[in-house]
């Protein structure tokens, strides 16, 4: 299973704040049919964000929401036009956002495993360098899904 679908990659997303970035990416999730209600999903993401920031350092953020509004679990990747403040662990601005939508169904779904593996990979310097160095949508897609069958 692919980690990140081609249509779930956004290039040059323009946002001035993290709330704006999360909102814009959530709209794409709604358009893609992954969430049934944008406001409910946003509530879960912002609620999580307020507990502690999901800026994991190195220019990367991994906001996520688990909500009944999630129809099927997925991830949206966005490369921002300009890095923005995300209250990150290393205080550096964020340029790469992985927004995770997680189903609240009792036993989850098969994609949660993919998301967990993706989270693990974000600790791998080679994987991170791969998508940071990528210039086109196709290169980003390849780097994010490298090693998948």
């Amino acid at each position: 299973m692919n980690k990140v679908n081609r249509e779930n990659i956004i290039l040059n997303l323009s946002a001035k704040t993290k709330d704006e970035a999360i909102k814009k990416i959530s709209t794409k999730l709604y358009d893609g049919g992954y969430i049934s209600n944008e406001i409910d999903f946003l509530d879960s993401v912002i609620h999580r964000e307020n507990q502690n920031s999901t800026g994991i350092g190195n220019g990367i953020a991994i906001p996520h929401g688990a909500s009944d509004a999630v129809v099927k679990s997925t991830v949206m990747f966005a490369k921002l036009e300009n890095p923005i403040d995300w209250d990150s662990l290393d205080s550096l601005p964020v340029e790469y956002v992985f927004l995770l939508a997680i189903t609240k169904k009792e036993h989850g779904d098969s994609y949660i495993r993919v998301l967990a593996n993706l989270a693990k990979l974000l600790m791998d310097a080679d994987f991170v360098e791969g998508f940071k160095r990528a210039n086109s949508l196709e290169e980003i897609y390849d780097s994010l899904n490298r090693g998948e069958n």
Binding site: R48, Q51, N52, T54, I56, G57, I62, H64, A66, L89, D90, L100, I102, G108, I112, R113, L115, A116, N117, A119, K120, L121, L122, M123, D124
Partner: protein, 104 residues
Amino acid sequence: MKIVAVAACLTGVAHTYMATASLEKSAKAANVEIKVEIQGAMGIENKLSQSEIDEAHAVIFAIDTSVVGRERFEGKKIIEVRTADTLRRSDEILQEAINIGEEK
């Protein structure tokens, strides 16, 4: 030196797994044996047996919530941190665990 750990965050999908990866990476670099029990959205993975816990020299809890089955660790030397701490400084945390593990 044997270390065991438990990773658990609120959603159980992102930080739990990042913390696990960080601790495993630091342990590999320090050439220390570690086993991380994951308490996440898919239940408990890589569950620690009581003998593994008993044999461990130190325990790391990387948690943003409570540990399921905390009583299994009674009497152990435990370092408790937040999952985010392991993203910031997992090498240091591992070293602290090694240090307390070496104490008599």
